[in-house]
Symmetry: C2
Subunit: 154 residues, 2 copies
DNA sequence: CTGCCTGCAAACTCTTTGCACGAAT
DNA sequence: ATTCGTGCAAAGAGTTTGCAGGCAG
């Protein structure tokens, strides 16, 4: 999905919800889609302010749920206190697992289609209907452990 | 694992770490192992105070990591702001997935041995050594959706 | 005795919310 | 005009920490 079609999708989603296309929301959208990696609300605030210095922290926090609801952003909670977000460039219904490097603090995402099967199987045994599933692997960087340097770390 | 052997394991762990077996730590241990379900730090504080009213919130928070490090307690983070804990009665190296009911707020745990295989496979492709993995499924209660009552809900 | 441990309360981090002003439709 | 959206600052929730006194070993 190109950024221009994502932008259009965002505008359409706002209209469908009866929400207004304010300059702050648009700046937050642009800042989010300019990111290649996972980012936090705080980092997004900085980036959005670089585009429009009238953006406040509150509006970032109020806009993030709109963007995750519209599936333009995916929320990633690795249980570290703060939540991470990532642009959802492919239509985004792919099941992915996160691999978190404990040395780099980097988050890798990997397709894990079997998760959906697992969620359904297990939930139905309990009389539950699965809504979402997440799989996270925490790992150490082998290169870092051996050489003291992580190739991805810089 | 019986509670008495768990208690002994806790004492040994404290000694091994050069930590002291204070009455507060022991009360927190007893309170934790009296629980059948997942519990929060706050609930643990209440229960521990019922056994020893000198226990403070700070000590609960300082003792929880000791008990998770010693594998007597398992930490479960379902991304809801607060963390849950559960006594680890079987030696505790079993891989489990959590199924969280969005209607009941109940947490079910289910054995998921393939997670370990998955963690290893995926991590090695990235040059990482897996440390832990967690799989969480969020689901709705079918009975609750249809009848307005969840059988497990009371 | 000597440190480790404790309770208390304040600090911290991330996120949410009440309010009055401001802007989109 | 209306109504929704905004920034600001304060409030919340959960957890952590500095400190002076207390107890285990």
């Amino acid at each position: 999905m190109s950024i221009s079609s994502a932008r259009e999708k965002f505008r359409q989603f706002l209209i469908k919800r009866g929400l207004r296309a304010t300059s702050q929301r648009l700046a937050i959208f642009e800042a989010a889609f300019a990111q290649d990696e996972h980012f936090t609300a705080d980092q997004l605030l900085d980036q959005a302010r670089a585009l429009d210095d009238s953006v406040s922290r509150a509006t970032v926090y109020r806009t993030l749920p709109i963007m995750t609801d519209s599936a333009l952003l995916r929320e990633v909670d690795i249980g570290s206190g703060e939540k991470f977000y990532r642009p959802n460039r492919d239509g985004g219904h792919t099941q992915v697992a996160q691999v978190v490097c404990l040395d780099c603090d980097k988050i890798f995402e990997i397709s894990a289609p079997f998760m959906e099967w697992y969620g359904s199987t297990v939930s139905s045994k309990l009389g539950l209907a699965p809504v979402s599933q997440r799989l996270q692997v925490s790992a150490h960087c082998i290169a870092f452990r051996q050489t003291g340097t992580c190739p991805r770390h810089g």
